[in-house]
Amino acid sequence: MKIPRIIPKLDIKGPNLVKGVNLEGLRVLGDPRSFIKSYYELGADELVYHDTVASLYLRNNLDKLLKATSKNIFMPIIVGGGIRSLQDVETMLVSGADRVFFNTAALENPKLIRNTVKKFGSATIVISIEAIRLQNNYICLKDFGRERTNIKVTDWILQIQDSGAGEVIITSINKEGTGKGFDLELCEKISKVAKIPFIINGGFGELKHISDLLNVCLPSGICISSAFHYGNKPSKEIKINKNEGNFEFLKKNKNFLNFGNISIKDVKNYINKVLK
């Protein structure tokens, strides 16, 4: 049995690491490089860098962050947000990413999946799905949860794997940032249709949530953001670029109530225990 990878996910807006709830109300948490360094040292299996405004502004700024962190971070990184073309994928890979994910661009132009897989290999191409619950269905959203589509999540997964994508990251918009547990109904639906490995994102707040998740499915990875970021609360050493974003949270200098101090090691040990 493959043990799910523990993947801190870093949402980036301009120069800063941000975090919201249900992908909204993005708070600035500090310079992403300090967080990235600490996740590397603490033994994360992989990292996700997500440019949160890229697809809205048709730009992705992550190549600079990638180049800066590649100098002393020797671990796998998945990058996405605003990736639209073969050229964009190449730019990210050349800058230090190992794998690239699409959401908006793939929904708008599904052929992009097959075209990029052909050039960069199946393993390199990851699809991100932002799922929201509407009545009894889960629907795909695009532009970092800003725009709705009519595409059902399960239909989309079938199409994605048919196009050769290597892995999927599924974010539950309803649970994202809440710390109240994973969207188990969504996870169960996905595990029934997905033949390719899938990463679950959104909802982690305490260790028990992991065993709840592993009861309904075996994901290839689990993304965790708020719980690690807030546990890793910006210290005075963390530099902040104050040209962009919402700094109210940092100014108040207080803890976020929903999350305790859960480390990467705690989560890994817990998974090993549950899967034994």
Partner: protein
């Protein structure tokens, strides 16, 4: 003379390999220039990408000839992931593609019930040869893998390491003369991987 030339075929994770070499003090350059390749002690053929697309670029840029020349002089070459697979004769990714044919054998897909499988994550490996760049300290050493194909050398005596995926044992390291290759990514395997670059540097100092 340059220590390491990282071959640029337009699609690898070149910068990560570059940074790993730099971090242990190797004199390194990313290049597709045949003169630069000719004047380097070690070649690294990195790998992220599809086999067929990679071979097409390598041939178009005449890099294949530079690689053959380098190996002909018995100089060191390192293949990483796709770069390891490219050293073999054939690959079955999408369709049948011809590789560099430096090592005898084929590259095959992990599959079950006709659906392809992706081996992604950190795995342990077992060393099969004594004198290689792999310097395993303990059973805790793990390496980062991301691939859906694996190489099957005809001559199993060139296998330097094996790993397991989906209850199948596969070759994840090769050592044949001055050719060494790894299916995992040393440049992405934290300290475990950096040790390989360190051994490469030590070996280079002894030999040149």
């Amino acid at each position: 003379m340059l220590d390491v030339a990282i071959i640029n075929y337009g699609m690898g994770n070149l910068f990560s390999v570059f940074c790993a070499c730099k971090s242990i003090g190797l004199n390194v350059q990313i290049t597709d220039d045949k003169e630069v390749i000719r004047n380097s002690k070690i070649l690294i053929l990195p790998g992220v990408g599809a086999f067929g697309a990679a071979m097409e670029i390598i041939k178009k840029k005449n890099i294949d000839k530079a690689i053959y020349e380098h190996i002909g002089k018995d100089k060191k070459i390192i293949g990483i992931c796709l770069g390891m697979q490219l050293l073999f004769e054939r690959s079955y990714e999408f369709t049948l593609n011809k590789g560099l044919g430096i090592l005898k054998g084929d590259v095959k897909m992990f599959s079950i019930n006709e659906s392809n499988l992706l081996n992604v994550g950190w795995n342990k490996i077992i060393k099969k040869k004594k004198k290689t760049l792999l310097d395993l300290n303990s059973e805790k050493d793990k390496f980062y893998f991301i691939h859906s194909l694996f190489a099957e050398p005809k001559d199993t005596s060139i296998i330097s390491a094996i790993s397991e995926f989906n209850k199948q044992t596969f070759c994840c390291g090769i050592k044949y003369k001055n050719i060494e290759a790894f299916q995992f990514h040393p440049e992405k395997s934290a300290d475990f991987g950096l040790k390989i670059f360190q051994s490469l540097k030590n070996e280079m100092k002894e030999n040149f």
